[in-house]
């Protein structure tokens, strides 16, 4: 199966600790690398995850709190020093450009690449904001103390698998593989015709990954997330801190489990842990009570989306 993996670079929250880095992730889809959020230190974590800056073409910023953006200028500066020439796309809420551009101009003088800012929508719908040959990225409307977006990474419908037994048996030339995958049949030298369906097995189901942080509990997201393979959902607090979670527009671990259950997700990964927890096992237990297939995020974790 083609690569579709998520690297957790940081899963802490605003207050820094020696146990967690602030929010940042890498989504590697067939060696095309996307970053979601970029807390301070993300560039070093990125190197630690053995990812290549040259493969990074788009960064998605969920919201403009420092623990999700303070690593951007360092990352941009390092790529400038490394002689990057490829355009970099940053998807973020509108104020980021006005804040970051003067720092780029001052600290990255002479850089050889362009940074293009794309403003994220600030409404209650989901929008397609990025697509290439293999993937689409949709926003997920979250609810936090300032405009906040989640991101849904969806593989595009995949092509069916060629049946190698039929290829061999019918002596179909190799150059026909893609044509057949895309829907063609085959007629042999004697004029016998084989339908497309006889030559392939069904495509793998497209996979998807959703990032929901920072947000309070948003049950209405369930429709947009139906059947997601992996859901990363913030679980800043345990449920005994529900009032604090509501006050600060965060979610509890139980609510993260509830979200995964409503969305019929395959797997749930919880993160964005408050610095008050020296041990996140109680958060895990709480989410698992609602949604058993839950994992705790940790720095260095690699999640295979399947």
């Amino acid at each position: 199966m083609e690569k579709f993996e998520v690297h957790i670079l940081g899963c802490g929250s605003a207050k820094p600790t020696l146990r967690h880095q602030p929010s940042s992730q890498v989504i590697n889809v067939r060696e095309k690398v996307f970053m979601v959020d970029c807390g301070e230190g993300a560039q070093v974590q990125f190197c630690r995850a053995r990812q290549k800056f040259s493969r990074l073409n788009a960064i998605f910023i969920s919201h403009l709190h420092g623990d999700h953006v303070f690593g951007l200028i360092g990352l941009l500066s390092t790529m400038a020093l490394a002689g990057r020439t490829a355009t970099l796309h940053i998807y973020a809420h509108a104020p980021l450009q006005g804040l970051l551009q003067p720092h780029i101009d001052f600290f990255c003088r002479g850089m050889q690449y362009e940074v293009i800012f794309h403003s994220l929508p600030d409404d209650h719908d989901s929008h397609l904001i990025y697509e290439d040959r293999s993937i689409e990225v949709h926003t997920l409307p979250l609810c936090h103390r300032l405009p906040s977006c989640g991101f849904l990474f969806k593989e595009k419908p995949l092509l069916p698998h060629i049946r190698h037994d039929m290829m061999t048996y019918l002596q179909i030339p190799y150059y026909m593989v893609n044509t057949i995958k895309q829907g063609a049949g085959w007629t042999d030298a004697e004029g016998r015709t084989y339908r497309h369906e006889e030559l392939v097995t069904p495509a793998d189901a497209p996979r998807s990954y959703a990032y929901c942080s920072d947000t309070n509990f948003q049950p209405r997201l369930a429709d947009m997330l139906q059947g997601v393979n992996v859901l990363y959902h913030e679980a800043t607090f345990a449920h005994d801190m529900l009032p604090r979670a509501q006050e600060t527009c965060h979610s509890t671990a139980r609510q993260a489990g509830e979200m995964a259950r409503l969305a019929q997700a395959r797997r749930l990964v919880i993160g964005h842990f408050s610095s008050r927890y020296d041990d996140e096992q109680p958060l895990l237990a709480e989410a698992q009570a609602v949604f058993p297939n839950t994992l705790l995020a940790h720095e260095g974790m690699v999640i295979q989306v399947d």
Copy 2:
């Protein structure tokens, strides 16, 4: 002896590595904490060095390259979250305020403390920029690709030590100790007079610490640094890279040793290592060939200034 120690938070250079953090140091003088430079990740390194944010009252920024400043906004934001109320002073070249203030306004909304920016001079002299009861901080004119300042931390002249044997013998009351330390003599009940010099032993020599980074080799600094207890000097390159050092306005390890020798420093600590060196022992050997009492900086290092 009163505390006067330097904590190395980062001694790497611009390109991040997994071995070194970017430039940052803490100078702790009698539990008053100063920071010099603040590369990305400095706040976490600060915690790792078990220093207290509440003791940090002034930050000195040598120059406005990213690897010396990108950690500032994260540090300021964390102190805001922690409810700091005490004014923080930042000494830096003038453009920093215009760059940082919009980020403070946006990312640290509602903060309860004031940040006061002090512009560093941009000439070829040394200036007294800070003093309190126990210490003075002077700038050191460095030469880099943009205006750059070193910093000389000098203890103020210390008071002499009281002679406890004389205190006991003459039954001098305890409340007189400070008066005598400050120069008074003592007259006993029978009218016998003891001179100040009979009641004290000489004060310790004031100690000093100098930070010189980033800069090319500046022999004219030697006068300002005469007899410094500890000199931290950048040694970005080995001497076989002298042309590259000159081109980028950095120093070689041999030049750092030469600087310590000219300044008649007691000890030299070299840092700001280029990411090309996986092992800095050759840099150490090179500096030691000129100035034997040299140490390599490393993250977590604590230098007692004595």
